[in-house]
């Protein structure tokens, strides 16, 4: 048992439902007790979805406990098949069905006999996988199912498209700014003269999955979702994939160069260097921004980054490499894929934190006391409590992170959006401090920032008065450094002398 107040990634079935509800005309039936269909509320609220979420529950109640689901699941599948004529029904297990150990595969086989559409059991175990892993697996499962079906029927299309083309894999419902990223990526492909063959799963029809092999290559913009499918397509059809997230100026260029290499290897002859150069220097504002005096002022400012693998890694690189910001700590909650994250960010930050415990990241932020945080909604609230601005860069997210306006994180417009986000986070913080400095007599008590930090040292009157003269935004740091110094030297009281000695010793 684990005492938990908050979780970063949801349970496995949420991942499966995100995939099922991303496809067009696919219906998910959860084998779950009353109340577990909360996914519908989230989709309807967060995405302001106009249509009914194609998810229903086959309710597990007391009777099911006593004598098993029997005909209930099969009846519900067949009924939904008749009501909505979906192409595919995905039977979705939950934590409850994981321990009931009913033979859901058998229900699926039986339902398949009466249903006109296809029926499938999502192969995810609640106790082994989280939302992100389950989404990746479910997408792979559906892709594989339809490609094998097409192969069996001899319906697989022959050969490749005439012009270079791509499948964009991993855009999904309830994904962080996924819709905007998708538009931006399509635009980028158009600029590069690459046709978009299929986008999956968002808005795709399962009937089109058989066309996937026609593309020259696959692009998986997100580390968490789509990689399994891309790897499968590589193994089965020899399709190369590009898994460099085009987020930030340098990474976008790297992604485009990789695409160039992949399509030239298949007989095309393209050179994107001029395009990259033109975009970088004149079209996107991010490169110019990092050169401007605004960004100069951010040099060496401390930041903490936390999120999923894709966004936390990309942000860390952008902050450190493109803006000269000092990333003290970069972290991810994708524990299952921690090695990849460490490899990506270790040269761009001082510390790496792999944890899904929000207390651990909260304490780290309190200890480091950065000028800005880039994290999830949870870090935003830590920031509120500590008075540190926060830019939200990854799920879990609230409704305000599903903006109606165009806000991609990927591609060249994405670099502009990220520059704004970073700059606004830091300036808001500066403004705050300037107000504090010039906003009249500064007689405020010293506030020890920190969720876990506690002070056991006393300050004498003069030292206290001196400390109060120090501008608010560095005061916490000065206080802590002085106390650390005093503790190390064994001083029990902090006087003016100790303060200055500390300043000389640690440059507080």
């Amino acid at each position: 048992m684990k005492l938990a107040y908050w979780m970063y990634a949801g349970p496995a079935h949420i991942g499966t439902l995100r995939i099922a509800s991303s496809f067009k005309n696919v219906h998910a039936i959860m084998h779950a007790p009353l109340g577990d269909d909360y996914f519908n509320v989230m989709r309807s609220m967060l995405e302001r979805e106009r249509n009914f979420t194609p998810v229903t529950a086959s309710i597990v109640d007391r009777n099911v406990l006593a004598r098993g689901s029997q005909e209930k699941v099969v009846d519900n599948i067949v009924r939904k098949d008749g009501e909505e004529n979906p192409d595919l029904i995905v039977l979705t297990p939950t934590c409850t069905s994981s321990i009931l150990q009913e033979d859901l595969a058998n229900f699926v086989d039986r339902a398949q006999m009466d249903a006109k559409g296809d029926v499938m059991l999502a192969d995810v175990n609640h106790y082994r996988f989280n939302e992100l892993q389950a989404a990746d697996r479910t997408l792979h499962q559906i892709v594989k199912f339809y490609l094998e079906k097409a192969r069996k029927k001899g319906e697989l299309p022959e050969g490749k498209t005439e012009k270079p083309s791509v499948n964009i894999i991993g855009i999904s419902t309830l994904g962080f700014h996924n819709q905007h990223d998708c538009t931006e990526l399509k635009r980028l492909m158009q600029d590069l003269g690459i046709e978009v063959n299929e986008v999956i799963p968002e808005g795709a029809s399962v009937h089109n999955l058989k066309n996937l092999p026609k593309a020259w290559f696959n692009l998986t913009p997100y580390r968490e979702l789509g990689l399994m499918s891309a790897q499968y397509l590589q193994e089965e059809f020899g399709m190369p994939y590009v898994d460099i997230t085009p987020m930030g100026v340098v990474e976008t260029a790297r992604c485009i160069r990789k695409i160039q290499q992949v399509i030239n290897a298949q007989g095309s002859n393209v050179d994107y260097e001029d395009y990259i150069n033109n975009q970088t220097l004149y079209v996107s504002q991010a490169a110019w921004f990092s050169r401007s005096i605004d960004c100069q002022n951010l040099t060496g400012k401390k930041a903490v980054v936390f999120g999923d693998n894709t966004h936390a890694a990309a942000m860390t690189k952008i902050l450190a490499r493109e803006m000269g910001i000092h990333v003290v700590l970069a972290g991810t909650y994708c524990k299952y894929d921690a090695d990849w994250f460490k490899e990506q960010v270790s040269e761009y930050c001082d510390e790496v934190l792999i944890s899904d415990d929000n207390g651990a990241i909260g304490d780290a932020i309190a200890r480091i006391e950065p000028s800005a945080i880039f994290g999830t909604q949870m870090e935003r609230h830590v920031g509120k409590r500590l008075d540190i601005p926060c830019g939200v860069i990854a799920a879990p997210i609230h409704i305000q992170n599903f903006p109606i306006g165009y806000k991609p994180f990927c591609g060249y417009e994405g670099t502009n959006q990220i520059a704004d986000l970073v700059y606004n986070s830091f300036t808001l913080g500066m403004e705050d401090h300037l107000l504090e400095i010039f906003g009249g007599h500064d007689t405020k008590e010293v506030i020890t920032k920190g969720i876990s930090a506690d002070s056991d040292l006393s300050w004498n009157k003069e030292a206290q008065a001196e400390l109060n003269k120090i501008p608010g935004f560095v005061r916490g740091k000065v206080k802590r450094n002085t106390e650390k110094f005093a503790r190390e030297r064994g001083f029990s009281q902090i006087t003016l002398e100790v303060m200055y000695a500390a300043k000389e010793a640690v440059g507080a």
Binding site: M1, L3, W6, V41, I59, T94, C95
Partner: protein, 466 residues
């Protein structure tokens, strides 16, 4: 609809139970706020945690006094010892938060793996020295607000009896004494004399404190004294309940608590309509008065006065129809009030219908329909949301009261909706709060009045019929 003759009695139907509602563990969201010295430990899985985290929204960041005891694979396969695990977590909670009670919320998973929470609690309680209340608020058996019912039914067992309480009474009343400090004994005696001589009356149902005060004063005007309230602001102030006490429920979803109070604590239940809407509040007070042989004073004028003040809202809804999809068990009382307001109601969906506990409310609904000259609604227990939506397309009601899963899709199809969960969190009890119910119910109508010139009602393309 093909009903040829108007039904003369309420019709009850039962559908498939495929409907959307909140999981009953959501009751921790309001109960931890109500019972200030409590800590709620939900023993379940990531699924439960994910629901609470998202359903409670921003509350989650305010250091709530609730947490998940998240079960791992080792717990499910009994490789880990339940007792030791729970002890470890509860000791940690005691150390960090020092609550006066820990409430264990059993979930679907603890039911299925048959974790004996009721058996473990007394042992652990003795070992760590904090009372532990066990409530099985799971989605296998209950819907949404019924979660509160299971918690209160469990708490009813913990209410002290006079005989036993004498010793600790001094201590328990310390706070009351503090409040009375400086007042002369005569004043207190004087206050006592304002009440009629009636047997002790204990209310049950969790309400926000302002509503508690409001209802208490309403009864005081009739000379009726509320001896205690289950739950009270603090666990340490749970009311004394003795054999022969009278009890009255303020919410329609408290049937288990009522049963427990009657059967286990030997109380007498006053069956009345619930104090929702001015009509309901008056009927509630009148019923309590009649049980105590008190002639109610000035109620008719009071009710009339409230109705008068509501006129501007009533104009908006008179003659309009309302459809309840059903998810929180407040439906019958709300429908009864809205019918009195001049609306019609073809269907009342409800998760669970306790015809004994809601008897007076149902009779009042029937009477209201007859007096207003409108057809009796069909009451659909365990509704099927898919079928209901087909009926909504057919009936085209002016207002659908529904959960969040259906609200946006219905709005996009030009159907006005009100999110039902708001009725459980808003203050809707008593004379004073009738306005708040109508404020909620008329909001979509008022909003759409403001937008009606725009011609933007249907915002989805017609789907081709397959």
């Amino acid at each position: 609809m093909t009903a040829l003759q108007e039904p003369t009695a309420l019709q009850f139907e039962c559908e498939t139970g495929n409907y959307h509602t909140f999981c009953p563990i959501s009751c921790v969201a309001w109960l931890y706020q109500k019972i200030e010295d409590s800590f709620f430990l939900v023993i379940g899985t990531k699924t439960c945690g994910y629901f609470l985290q998202n359903a409670m929204g921003v509350m989650i960041f305010a250091e709530p006094r609730y947490a998940m005891a998240e079960l791992e694979e080792g717990d499910i396969s009994a490789q880990l010892n339940d007792y030791e695990e729970l002890k470890r977590l509860c000791v940690q909670i005691k150390r960090d938060r020092n609550p006066s009670v820990i409430v264990w919320i059993g979930t679907c998973t603890t039911e299925i793996i048959k974790m004996d929470l009721e058996g473990l609690a007394p042992k652990l309680e003795a070992e760590i020295g904090i009372p532990i209340v066990t409530a099985r608020a799971n989605g296998l058996d209950y819907a949404f607000t019924q979660g509160e019912d299971t918690v209160l039914a469990a708490m009813a067992h913990k209410c002290p009896q006079t005989a036993k309480a004498e010793g600790e009474k001094e201590e328990r009343n310390a706070i009351h004494k503090l409040l009375n400090f400086g007042r002369k004994k005569e004043d207190i005696k004087q206050e006592e004399s304002e009440y009629a001589d009636h047997p002790p009356l204990v209310m049950f149902g969790s309400l926000p404190d302002p509503v508690v005060t409001n209802l208490t004063l309403e009864l005081k005007k009739q000379g009726i004294k509320i001896a205690g309230w289950l739950p009270s602001k603090r666990y340490t102030e749970l009311p004394v309940i003795d054999e022969g006490y009278y009890v009255s429920g303020v919410n329609p979803f408290l049937s288990r608590t009522a049963t427990t109070l009657m059967r286990r604590r030997k109380c007498k239940l006053i069956g009345s309509p619930f104090p929702i809407g001015p009509d309901g509040t008056r009927a509630w007070i009148e019923k309590i008065c009649s049980v105590f042989n008190i002639e109610p004073q000035g109620l008719e004028e009071r009710e009339a006065q409230i109705w008068e003040s509501l006129e501007e809202y009533l104009q908006l809804i008179r003659g309009k129809s309302v459809f309840f999809m059903g998810d929180n068990l407040l439906e019958v009382s709300l429908a009864r009030f809205l019918i009195r307001c001049g609306m019609t109601c073809p269907e009342i969906g409800i998760p669970y219908m306790d015809k004994r506990y809601q008897q007076a409310e149902l009779a009042f609904l029937e009477k209201t329909c007859q007096e207003m000259g409108v057809p009796l609604p069909k009451i659909v227990e365990k509704p099927d949301n898919y079928n209901q939506i087909q009926r909504i397309y057919q009936l085209k009601p002016d207002l659908v009261i529904t959960g969040m899963a259906h609200a946006n899709p219905l709005e996009a199809r030009g159907i006005n909706t009100k999110w039902s969960v708001e009725f459980t969190f808003a203050q809707i009890h008593g004379f004073t709060n009738a306005r708040d119910i109508l404020e909620l119910a008329t909001r979509p109508l008022r909003r759409n009045n403001n937008l009606k010139e725009l011609g933007w009602e249907k915002l989805v393309k017609e789907q081709a019929k397959v």
